[in-house]
Subunit: 330 residues, 2 copies
């Protein structure tokens, strides 16, 4: 009844922002992401009747209360319901990157928890079933079950059985790269879940966002399959700006960019004006992700050294999907 | 045949962004501004048959070519047509603030040129007629003819005769203040005229912008008349964010904010969270205008000292409208 899994984080090229069903985590729109090699959560789950309650240890520290603990317990409840068991569980997780600063730790976290938890509970789930389970913990986690380039289908059904992620292309399909530039290590003030609910409720631009996402999905999907860097880069950057524009026009405004974010945005636009193949995308946080091809990666890393106040630079290749591992954390 | 005028700049509380008629400068939406005490253009115009061509001197330097010269000559042509004269003119202008860095120098410039030019041409125009004339040189200039708090009516007619600015309240109506924070002295890369045309043509959000401006106009108009600082501040800030969101979602993106702009935005939001009465608005440029009441002005100026890379801070009260002056510049 003990199992461990590793799931990589992912970065959306076409963003998920807003739920049409908050209980089932059904999105208003589909999204496309790249699973990130090297940024992962490693989680061990054990269900056992000797545990009097569910416990959750993250990065070496037991989480005693709060939203994070509640999320884990809720997810364990889902798994127990599916497996028809009632033992409490011990969950131990490690991220190899800063939590909650816009690096999608909830994506890798809930994907790893789903895979390890389902296995520990004796369930034998398909990737589709795991993606649906992960989705119910955190929307973007549905995309971290698969590797490479992944699309989370919006679905139409009210029970959510058609809203899961599928692979568009495997990790070795393309030498597309994402350079994550860390501009702040602080936890963000407004978490994605609260932010997107507020946007759906109040932004003047949410309607136009939804009206134009389908086209972005089509272009990015096509761009990935054809390995058309310009089409993917342009569309993903535009989609990111559209998402941040809906955030900024939320009331009260949600502005995730900091001065360094701004500096990097202008740098990327300028580099591109001068012929370098670079586009940016930004999730619900201040970190900037620069999309490029392998051949331009070192040039971009070099140029980033000239920008002040950058905390860290992480290069990611397309990564593999979530997988069970033998190494347990306890 | 020589006349001089001074016109103050203005800052929009509900923004003008996009023309429905590019020749007549008819806007897609109405706008509301405060005329700024102390930021002005002083212009002298002389029509005389001894001039072989129109000349334009700005801030002591003759403008030999380019868009600015063309704008002045086109405007002189309009005035000559109205006055049925054909002499060429000498135009000398001085701004007491940096040109083209988002301080609406075209508003004060074209308003002063309209008033001095009309007078020098022997025309006797009403404020409404002057506002229409100024509008045909630069949309926002229509608002600099009047003082205090001003609304530029969208109008419905195709000939533009109902699209002019009127006063909502005079300059001594209210101790509302605008603190202009200069974050860059550089000329902006994309001028408003080109920027708004590109937004209208390509932004996914322009439709939603237009759908929500009427409500902003109503709130700000009402807020000014009732002296409701919160209503004016909140609505103006939201309107500014909506405008910048349409710019950012233009293709290619138009991003006027720099790192210092971002720093000030977050500072104002934080000050407000802590109870200080401050809202921001930003025009097509990187400068931030902080709206406040007279009583909070010194506290805000003090806090601005803690923010790095600010070039200058200018406090503006509501100013008077454009007026003829005796002092000629040549």
């Amino acid at each position: 009844m003990k199992a461990s899994a590793i799931a990589n984080s992912n970065i959306a090229l076409v963003k998920y922002w807003g739920k049409r069903d908050k209980r089932l985590f059904l999105p208003y729109n589909g999204s496309i992401s790249m699973t990130l090699d090297g940024l992962y959560t490693h989680t061990t789950v054990e269900f056992d009747s000797r545990y009097g309650k569910d416990t959750f240890t993250l990065n070496g520290k037991e989480v005693m209360q709060g939203d994070e603990l509640e999320e884990v317990v809720n997810h364990l409840n889902l798994i127990r319901e599916m497996a028809k068991i009632n033992q409490k569980a011990r969950v131990v997780s490690k991220n190899n990157f800063p939590t909650a600063a816009g690096l999608a730790s909830s994506a890798s976290g809930l994907a790893a928890l789903s895979m390890a938890g389902a296995k520990a509970a004796g369930l034998n789930l398909s990737k589709k079933e795991l993606s649906i389970l992960a989705r119910r913990g955190s929307g973007s986690a549905s995309r971290s079950i698969e590797g490479g380039f992944v699309e989370w289908l919006r679905g139409e059904k009210t029970d959510g059985t058609d809203s899961y992620a599928t692979q568009i292309a495997p990790q070795d399909h393309w030498d597309f790269r994402i350079i994550t530039v860390i501009t702040s290590g602080k936890e963000k003030k407004i978490k994605s879940r609260a932010g997107m609910a507020q946007t759906v409720a109040t932004s003047a631009y949410y309607k136009d966002w939804l009206a134009t996402v389908e086209e972005d999905l089509k272009k990015v999907r096509e761009g990935i399959l054809k390995k058309d860097f310009k089409l993917v880069g342009e569309t993903a950057e535009y989609n990111c700006l559209k998402m941040h524009a809906t955030m900024m026009t939320t009331r009260p405004p949600i502005i995730y960019w900091n001065p360094t974010t701004m500096d990097i945005i202008h740098s990327v636009l300028e580099w591109r004006d001068n012929g370098l193949g670079a586009y940016f995308t930004i999730d619900a946080g201040p970190q900037v992700k620069i999309m490029c091809m392998e051949k331009d990666m070192n040039e971009i890393k070099q140029r980033l050294k000239e920008i002040k106040n950058i905390q860290d630079v992480i290069v990611c290749r397309p990564g593999e999907g979530a997988r069970l591992v033998d190494k347990h954390l306890f």
